[in-house]
Symmetry: D2
Subunit: 405 residues, 4 copies
């Protein structure tokens, strides 16, 4: 969201901002819950919510109290965002693949679309044209006339401040000013994020435990990425990017990776890598546009579960690499939480034995014990969810500002 | 050649056998050269050759003496095999690929054919039917009515005594009695050999230096194989097979190999491996029937020579593996000669720097110095040549026997 | 410094704190420089420094102006800490080795000592007794009667909040409550830090560039450790510890590490590892107490520089591991700065070629370019300097507080 | 045995030679057994043995028939070599270690000695002086006045024809003409062999099964070596040497090896390597003269068996390397028999689980099934036994010759 000016908030605006943030994160809440969450007096909460309801930013919904028992509870009034404040479109660009999602201001999913088309060999302008057209067509096709912002999750190293893809394994160009390029074409602010960071953000937004301490989310799917959060905030490296942990070289002389290197974590664990190796084992057909779909991946997993020894070896090797990768995270960052997420967790049962053996052999037991490991089954949907939440929160900042009288 | 009975040769038959062997190996020779080669008196040579000419086994050809200078030499009479003693067909079965060659008794190439068709997923009988039909059609198509034997070179571990493919990466079945199965279908004796051994045999037949001491021929092409000779005779391991050196695992966690393992020598160096990795780098189209042809391989080599860094890395990694592989041969067997051969030598210029660095770092200098390394550029044609020579030599044994009066 | 109560500072105390911090970091400054540094008016600076001089916390020193030229500058008055406010002892515990340093409140080194004695096989109480006795003897021997605090740098994973060594490769015990144990024995507050973090802190205190953005200091010496800072503050992992990056396993099946694992970064790069391997190469004598001194390490470096091929290989392998290690840091954290430090940099000339080649082959060029790599030659002295600065800053907090009237 | 002239044997001498060979290999036999072994008529055997008894070469010993039961069998007369035909001394030179053994012509052990002294840093002449003195002192000390030959087993690559150590990890010199140098100093013929080849020869002499087909003996102990036999005859590589299989590099970047390389098989499995790593784990004392004795090795094995996890890991890693090494032998040579031998088999119980897992993962099942794996517990005594048998057989050649009347 490159063009938004940074005017400091007044104390009252800050209070509104905190209230909206809490609702965005926790979902609909009664006034008393809001007060508890923010440590605010009932009077202050009432006063703030009254004006937000008045401005049409929040709406009230009556729900039966969940308290069970003979005596029926009083209906409870919960507050949440109106759904009429404008919508955002979340976009993910993978390898020859685009995911789109339309979400209204109340966070409700309105439409989504999955598109496969060649992207890898496009030049910068061509690529931006294609993306802009795809987004426009999606908005028109879904009758979305009130789109306020675009949230864009990309594979690769993303300069999140300037909205530039510094490098990506799935795009043919370098230092691509995607946010400004799309912004100009669409006339909308565009917010950008690395896709693993976006998924990590979505996951930690849903689980408050993961927002305390240090949380490393290892996303396995179309590629392998790391979203790392310290106290709920995404870690930013040089040039405001995230991490390219999936391209840590785990084994010299390992398999070819699409980044051009060999032996990267991704070259064992990503869907494309597993599918490529399965092709060599049993001569299954090559995927369309060089990328295997969910059905193709499920079929590999099913055959392995049915006992095919060579496919079992494939997951055995992948699990070992996953264990080594998590071991590196523990030895380097000693996070409180490690979250394994992304579609690749579909095979966690096959990966687990060698994953655990490798993790055990790679880490010092005293240090391994400090990190809790979570597996969050999560489809690629969470990628767009992550950038959608970020975009909505940016828009909430505008809502928090008091209109000049 | 499973069905040939072993009746010992008489002394005269042995002398005939030695003479025929020498001609087969050295090509047409004058009587005086034959005498020198065999350490036989002119009288004995004359007597032997007279009857062989008489029986129509040998023919004489007059050639101008090659001695240059003012005084023209006397025309020289050279003797060689008649071309009318029957022909042999040499066959190579690769991955979804068959090479055929028809050769007459004078060793002259009469016809050859290259066929691509799915073989990998055929059952045993189906496969033998397909091969028998293919050979029959080739014989008919080339008008070959006097075929005396089939020489068959196969990828995999071949029981050369019983003509059984114990294991092969390119066939879906195990312990396949190919010699007897084809023999019954064709009504001809079938001699079998591992394909790398066949190429090693062909190469050492052409170069007498390589027939003294120990010679290890590393064939790189459709796969990687080793033909090892001690004093010109092929080394035989358990069950009369050769070697599966291409499936030595050089790197734990290396790339997937079509044998089902990972990190095999072949998984870096074979054509299919280089092509698979190049596909990931630049998204070139997948090969027909999963195997890249010579054109496809040439195109990779040309692009690398033109400076493509990722493709250069590919050959760099392959060269390193080649150096490590040769290092293992030196440290294990300390051969006098190491021959790098097969179509993969087409990229020797790209492989050489990392090949030499790896070889140097892997071996003890004093031991490395004992082995001479030769590069023999050689197409897959040499595979069928190897089995054709072996088959002709087997037939020569019959010619050496004196007909019962 | 476990027992210090946390009473919030008043605004005036906060201003004093900032002023003392700036002096501690930048060294003696004139009032005008202080004002520039803190963005304070000359009047405020004068008022604050007047009372600090009055309380005897600061002293003024007159120095000739450094402005060169014919016209001599006016003498300049610089302010700095009095040296009479009490001293601190910095201690480092390595493998069978203790370094001690006495520093006064003006940060001047008063005495230091190096002790070698068996520590590795001591139990918890025995070890704490030995350390307490060693520190007491050092204080007595140097006539230090005004020691106010101990700063302790340890190899291993240190819970810096509770002063516990959770795990260490050089101590035989686990979860050792060293700060409280030493604190009770000495009657002094004890502040603890991982040794690589202490060195990283010392280095970044000296260089303001390294305090902006993310800085990863890789310390190579007795062991290998990582101190990671974000905006000048040390990164803390779970349980307030740092990193055990030196025990990331770089090569499965690599050399034995003293952590019990194999193939750790340390097992190639640490002094003990290089010396162990050199012993095997040329049968040099084993070191006293199993740890090689600086002389022993220098001798290896000198012989390698003189061209000994096997010793050159040793540094070649170590440099490759260093490059891979830095590559992991870049791909994982993308820091703005990477600092190679510690005594191991003595051989940087020998390490550099393979370091650079490995770094280049391990990282994506676009990402590699984002991190600046610095080599800071630094002896083990910087370890104790780091904890001494931290201890002095803790004491400065007391000085910043206004005495109750 | 460099100086022995090669005069062809007469047919009668050849028969005597075969008879003596059979006795040397099988031990004392009755005439009827000799006949069965050699396929000779009773008359021929009687005639031959009569003259050998007459010449004092053989002696007869009466033994009770072993047939059990009520009816006691007739006493049986067995023939064997007289013990008065002269003796041989077998010598093994390891790392700073010499083993000596005196054996009489009947193959009976008369004396043996174990000596530790620095050898590694001696120059060529000094080393030969030391060995000559040591052998002379041993002969004198044991009262051996009839020594006819020396058999010398050396670590390293040995030119067995010319008696030259081309390269050795335990000697400081290269291309050492040890046979001629010692021969001149001692006035005796000296026969040389690589030590692993000597052990392989001794083992296969005792077991006729291992003399058919191809047998690879992997000796693990002071170092790691390979003795490879084809049909009972030692394989000879270039320059009549054996193999330096122990210095095949299994893992790039593996532990330092005493050959100067890294990651050699030996660097994991040899006694010195295991002891070096154990030292780092638990700080046990360094061995005398840098080489651990049998007691020191037994102590490591015992502690591991008692459950020490880090020492168990050591054997786990060593077993994995052993499995990979055997896998290379199978894939390269496909021998009928693989024999694991040498003192290192003392820990076979600890090595076995990871050995088997590695072997299984490294080899193609169909090929693995073709090789039988044998474990032969065998001390370093077998090394000298191997060269002693070879020396005795050389001397038997003289006995087979008929004296000129």
């Amino acid at each position: 969201m490159t063009a938004m000016p940074l005017i400091p908030l007044s104390p009252r605006e800050t209070a509104r901002r905190r209230l909206l943030d809490a609702l965005r994160r926790e979902g609909p809440m009664a006034r008393v819950e809001i007060g508890q969450h923010l440590g605010m007096s009932p009077a202050s909460v009432s006063e703030l919510t009254a004006s937000l309801l008045d401005e049409g930013i929040l709406v009230a919904e009556e729900t039966a109290d969940q308290a069970s028992g003979l005596i029926r509870g009083r209906p409870k009034t919960r507050l949440y965002f109106a759904e009429t404040l404008g919508s955002v479109i979340g976009v993910w660009t993978g390898f020859n693949r685009i995911e789109l999602r339309l979400v209204d201001s109340a966070g409700r999913n309105r439409a989504s679309r999955h598109i496969e088309r060649p992207l890898r060999n496009l030049g910068a302008n061509e690529l931006m044209d294609v993306l802009a057209e795809t987004i426009t067509a999606f908005a028109q096709g879904t009758g979305a006339h009130d789109v306020k912002a675009i949230g864009l999750a990309c594979q690769g190293y993303v300069d999140t401040r300037d909205g530039i893809v510094a490098w990506s394994p799935v795009l043919g160009t370098r230092d691509l000013p995607l946010a400004s390029g799309l912004g100009e074409r669409l006339g909308l602010p565009v917010l950008m994020e690395n896709d693993a960071s976006a998924m990590a953000f979505a996951i930690t937004q849903r689980n408050s435990d993961l927002r305390s301490g240090r949380t490393a989310c290892l996303m396995v799917g179309d590629g392998v990425g790391l979203g790392f959060l310290i106290q709920g905030e995404l870690y930013r490296g040089a040039r405001f990017g995230g991490s390219e942990f999936g391209h840590v070289r785990l084994r010299r002389g390992g398999p070819q990776c699409r980044c051009g290197g060999r032996g990267c974590i991704e070259a064992y664990l990503a869907d494309y890598a597993l599918h490529r190796d399965a092709q060599l084992i049993d001569h299954r057909p090559a995927p369309t546009l060089l990328l295997p779909g969910e059905d193709a991946m499920e079929s590999i997993v099913e055959q392995a579960r049915a006992g095919d020894p060579a496919l079992l070896n494939l997951f055995q090797a992948a699990g070992e690499v996953l264990g080594d990768a998590v071991g590196i995270l523990i030895q380097t960052l000693e996070p409180d939480h490690i979250v394994l997420c992304g579609p690749g967790t579909r095979a966690m049962d096959l990966l687990r034995p060698s994953f655990e053996a490798a993790l055990e052999s790679q880490t010092i037991p005293e240090l391994r014990a400090l990190a809790a490991i979570h597996v969050v089954e999560s489809s690629m949907d969470l990628l767009t969810e992550g950038v959608v939440i970020q975009a909505l929160r940016e828009l909430d900042l505008d809502l928090a500002r008091l209109k000049a009288a």
